[in-house]
């Protein structure tokens, strides 16, 4: 884990690379151009960059119009607005036509910090998952965000990219391959699998390292693509480790944990629990304070792993 970098930086840099390679890439922004790092593209390709003002619904519709003309449009704003204000525009104008519109929602999660509840997006996965034709990706780090953005560009149809504001550690390597829909095992383990996305992957790795010293083997699965979900990786985890704990910086209602549970229940039921935001809004505070208050730290994950292992060992449970 070298220097800390936010996933939004990876997105912004990838956009410029895409702009260079593909003349059909256009970028639209709903006023938060620097915050989403869409400004990198704006500076490099001003003729293919469109300011839409504080008008997210119109941005999504315009992006759909571009896509109907053969463009690949990236629409950028904060996650709350990108999924909440525009949900029905995404449903009808984008997903029903399976258009090449890529939504970049930055400032996902509680680590938005001091801005408080209105700006802390905790529901994007739950909102995007039920949209037919929508792909949902939550990159784990800067490097993965870059690769995910490049992969999203050539992936047919709408894609939602959940990006973070705060700098976070790199948990993947430059040379790692990224494939949409294919989860990666970052650490082996036979006692339990921790399935995480976004910044929670780094927390999961810390858990695995800490418990290794106690002789507990925790497999860490980076489930960067929530939809289409990697069923095989999840079923393998259930079968081979017998217990699954999910971790997301997102509501536990309808998010990564729910998506994993849908696979587990239907295919290979094992004891399973979810860590995430428990049916509540965020609030102001420093990111690290909020991670602690909302029980998202690796210390809390360690506790939850141990509880789940107890449950696993109690056959009558």
């Amino acid at each position: 884990m070298s220097e800390l970098k936010p996933t939004r930086d990876g997105f912004g840099e990838a956009l410029v690379e895409l702009g260079r390679k593909n003349p059909n890439v256009v970028v639209l922004s709903a006023d938060l151009t620097s915050s989403t790092r869409a400004n990198y593209f704006m500076e490099a390709f001003p003729e293919r960059f469109f300011r839409m003002g504080v008008a997210e619904q119109d941005m999504v519709g315009t992006a759909a119009g571009f896509a109907l003309m053969g463009k690949i449009s990236f629409a950028c704003t904060f996650g709350v607005f990108a999924t909440g204000k525009t949900w029905e525009q995404l449903r009808v104008s984008v997903c029903q036509m399976k258009l090449n519109v890529k939504i970049a929602g930055s400032h996902g999660g509680i680590t938005v910090g001091p801005d408080g509840a209105t700006h802390q997006a905790l529901e994007e996965i739950s909102l995007m998952r039920p949209l037919s034709n929508m792909t949902v990706i939550v990159p784990a780090d800067y490097l993965e965000a870059k690769k995910a953005t490049i992969a999203a560009c050539s992936f047919p149809g709408p894609v939602y990219l959940r990006l973070g504001k705060d700098p976070s550690p790199n948990v993947t390597k430059e040379e790692d391959l990224f494939e949409i829909g294919k989860a990666s095992v970052l650490k082996g383990g036979k006692d339990l699998t921790l399935i995480a996305c976004g910044i929670m992957v780094a927390e999961a790795l810390k858990v695995s390292e800490a418990l290794e010293k106690e002789g507990i083997g925790v497999r860490v699965l980076n489930l960067h693509t929530i939809k289409p979900i990697d069923k095989k990786a999840i079923i393998d985890a259930a079968r081979q480790t017998g217990a699954i704990l999910t971790a997301e910086e997102h509501t536990v209602i309808g998010g990564l944990g729910s998506a994993v549970a849908e696979v587990v229940v239907k295919n290979y039921p094992v004891p399973m629990e979810m860590v995430g935001i428990e049916d509540m809004f965020g609030r102001s505070g420093k990111s690290q304070e909020l991670m602690r208050v909302y029980n998202l730290t690796h210390e809390n994950l360690v506790k939850r792993v141990k509880q789940l292992l107890d449950r696993k060992r109690t056959p009558s449970y």
């Binding site: 256009v26 003002g53 759909a64 119009g65 571009f66 104008s93 029903q96």
Partner: protein, 283 residues
């Protein structure tokens, strides 16, 4: 210059389209007659006169685009497309039925020759702007026409899109408002007054044209006027009559979303036949 079709021919076509609309809706057993009948002349003016399009080559790159933002009015669009040769007229009777390409609201996934999926009000003009912007950066000379309902103008997204088109000086965008004065809950004036509507669009930096939306000469004049408007989008505010052509449906909001039954259809077709005969006599 485009050659203007004979107006009596267009009037006869309008009657044919209205017959098709009512016949389709009766067969479907549900749908929206009022707002389908109100914009027939505006649509005929586009497909029979104004649009650059080719039914034999529906995906022509430099075709003009038409987006029906008020998607519930699709029976009129389906009827015009069929009569223009985009698909067989017999298919019109499949409207709203299982496995039909003619979905209850326009659905491009089922009928790819449509320019966009619409039906949730307020979304069409943004799409039109995106198409227009893309054509500008690609240097493709096309126009995008977007037909909106008056009730639809309650939607905030429409006004966002109105600002976008003006900001980007999209003189290849033409919005057409089917101002038939009614929405489901009653008269537009009572539900949420739009007036002064022309002034609103003017204040948003659009070129405005106000016409009688059933008068073919005024319609074609308005479409011709587009050629002389530069660096501004144009809106045609067309005063229309909801349920136009069928006496018992005209200005009657109860026919917004109820299909005619057999007896209504017979009565309506008879009225339209009488109107058709009058055209023969007078022209």
């Amino acid at each position: 210059m485009r050659t203007r079709p004979d107006i009596s021919f267009l009037k006869k076509e309008a009657i044919k389209i209205r017959r098709d609309i009512l016949t389709m809706l009766e067969a479907a057993g549900s749908g929206h007659p009022g707002g389908s009948l109100s914009y027939v002349e505006l649509l005929i003016g586009l497909y029979y006169y104004r649009l650059r399009h080719d039914p034999k080559n529906p995906f022509l790159k430099n075709r003009d685009r038409f987006i029906l933002s008020k998607g519930h009015g699709c029976p009129a669009l389906y009827a015009v497309l069929a009569n223009q040769g985009y698909f067989p007229r017999e298919e019109l009777l499949t409207l709203r039925k299982l496995d039909s390409r003619l979905q209850g609201h326009p659905d491009k996934a089922h009928l790819p020759i449509l320019e966009a999926t619409t039906g949730s009000l307020g979304q069409g003009l943004s799409i039109a702007n995106g198409i227009a912007l893309a054509s500008k950066i690609d240097g493709v000379d096309i126009r995008v026409y977007c037909l909106l309902g008056d009730g639809e103008l309650d939607e905030g997204q429409v006004w966002e899109a109105i600002m976008t088109a003006a900001h980007y000086k999209l003189d290849n965008v033409c919005a057409i408002v089917d101002y038939n004065k009614f929405q489901i809950d009653g008269s537009v004036k009572d539900v949420k007054n739009l007036e002064p509507l022309v002034k609103k669009w003017e204040a948003f930096n659009w070129h405005t044209i106000e016409i009688d939306g059933h008068d073919f000469k005024e319609i074609m004049d308005a479409y011709d006027e587009l050629d002389s408007v530069k660096a501004k989008p144009t809106v045609i505010i067309a005063h229309t009559i909801k349920g136009k052509g069928v006496s018992f449906m005209e200005n009657n909001v109860n026919w917004h979303g109820v299909a005619p039954k057999k007896e209504h259809l017979e009565k309506a077709l008879k009225e339209l036949e009488e109107q058709d005969n009058k055209i023969k006599k007078s022209d």
